[in-house]
């Protein structure tokens, strides 16, 4: 793998985040059809599939170092973006083990894990880390095991405890979220933390079925789904905590800047049963791609136009797109020639337009 990391790129203020052509083509475009509605669109998290983002257990791309630095910055400003309730220590070690073993197996050039009994040595070359510690002994790490390892992966993570036939979000590392608060939600049951999702999803029984499915999630058989929203500027930290900081961005979209300002925000959500704790690790890996970059793939620009044009108004409101959606739709309408699109999310090309 010859990925070139870009350690200096920023996700706030100067917004120097940019995607290479290869990175645009590996974007996990979230719409398999020309229309979108909530569904339990869960599939096995196995390697292969329609996008290179599915080729690793935890996907690392050219933004890895920049995103880890942004996470470090958010945690310095608000340490409570990482919290785990005290009864979840076994799940913390489960998480550390799963992520270290997966990264070392998928990216041997970047990460190495060696074990001598319970004494493990972890090498993270992109971040310049070399740590020897004793598995099961938190005092041998610079911070708790969950925080230690999730500082070194792109995307947010939450830990779900399973009890009372329900799942409870009893921990998380949440610095790149689409407008939900760990500090407010920690400890909630499955239906409670999904409470704000529009009634159309609840009415369709989406959460009842998803919970039933997840309660039966098996160790060694992780699953995934794609979720999406839109974000103005390539900003990772769109937390409710900082809504007064990023909210005004939504009023800055004009017909002239819409393609550069508005980003499709995709979450590659993965779910893993953990072996010792029986908890579930939920990964929420965020990918940002501007409308302008999406428009360089003919299938994607046609489809994004049709999805946004026909989106259920409740969903548009929930996703906070009300102010600027007409501008995005107008921009993309001019680029949609009406040609039919193929099923699935693949770009159907290996070269970008423009």
């Amino acid at each position: 793998m010859t990925v070139q990391f870009k350690p200096a790129e920023t996700f706030r203020d100067t917004f120097t985040y940019k995607k290479s052509p290869e990175d645009i083509l590996r974007f996990p475009f979230p719409f398999p059809e020309d229309e979108y509605m909530y569904s339990v669109n869960i599939e096995p998290h196995v390697k292969g599939g329609a996008t290179p983002a599915f080729q690793a257990v935890f996907d690392i791309d050219e933004h890895y170092v920049g995103e880890c630095r942004e996470r470090e910055r958010v945690l310095k400003e608000d340490p409570k973006r990482c919290q785990v309730l005290p009864h979840m220590m076994a799940a913390q070690w489960d998480t550390l083990e799963l992520i270290m073993e997966s990264l070392a197996a998928d990216y041997p050039a970047h990460f190495t894990l060696s074990k001598a009994g319970d004494v493990w040595t972890w090498v993270n070359r992109p971040l310049g880390l070399h740590q020897t510690f004793t598995f099961g002994k938190p005092e041998t790490l610079p911070c708790t095991p969950f925080e230690y390892i999730t500082r070194q992966v792109q995307g947010d993570f939450t830990l779900q405890d399973q009890r009372e036939d329900n799942l409870f979000v009893d921990g998380g590392m949440v610095t790149t979220q689409a407008d939900w608060s760990l500090e407010f939600n920690i400890g909630m049951s499955f239906h409670e933390w999904h409470g704000p999702v529009p009634g159309v999803a609840h009415d369709r029984g989406v959460f009842d079925r998803a919970l039933k499915y997840l309660l039966r999630l098996q160790y060694g058989q992780p699953v995934r789904r794609l979720n999406w929203t839109m974000t103005i500027n390539p900003r990772l930290d769109t937390s409710p905590e900082n809504y007064p900081v990023w909210g005004p961005d939504r009023t800055t979209v004009t017909a002239d800047n819409v393609a550069e300002k508005v980003h499709l925000r995709v979450e590659l959500q993965t779910l893993f049963r953990l072996p010792r704790s029986n908890a579930i690790l939920f990964g929420i890996r965020c990918y940002l791609t501007s409308v302008s970059d999406i428009a360089r793939v003919p299938k994607w620009r046609r489809r994004l136009h049709r999805v946004l044009r026909d989106l259920h108004p409740d969903l548009a409101e929930y996703k906070g797109m009300t102010r600027y959606r007409p501008l995005v739709v107008a921009h993309l309408a001019a680029l949609d020639d009406g040609a039919p699109t193929s099923r699935g999310i693949a770009p159907d090309t290996d070269r970008l337009d423009g």
Binding site: F184, N185, M188, G195, P244
Partner: protein
Amino acid sequence: MSDQGIKSRPAYGKITGDPAARHALLVVEGAGLPDELMAEGVDPSAFETWTVAHASTVPGAPVMDEAAGAVRPFRSARQLFSALEERLARETMGLRLCAAGTEPFLWDVFNIGAVAGLTRQEMQFAQMGPQARRIFCVHCRTVSEGITASIVTCAGCGASLFVRDHFSKRLAAFMAVQIDAEVPGEVPPSEEIYR
């Protein structure tokens, strides 16, 4: 009352008791017994009942021993919570904890019970009294009590806050979010809706 369609908002019923209980403790945010909140056929004398008299002259009473049918008044809700922490720390299996009161009171009781190891199934909640809300400002973490309006000024950071129906049992509070974050100053009229 408005309904924002948010499903995390708790629903409440009546106190039904639990035939499997070894002992039942009912805590009430008020001086009287909540007869109207007892399910049909439930005998209030089956409970040990703690009440809040809101009076400094209430004399001390033993709180550590089980006494079915006894009614024990406290000077304030805080005094009751303090005793409840001590009592639950010594309790054994088979206790059922019931509470009747305003929403913040009920979830304060819930959190004391949870710390003591009671599960949600071992507790029952019946809402009574004013509908005023406790809110949590998601921007500055200030907790404000007795909120009756749809939009209020945060005592901590000054933001004009919209009170969402999204409820955290752990914080025993509703989430409050700045209403004019996107266009500062664009604040719709506030309505008195939580009475």
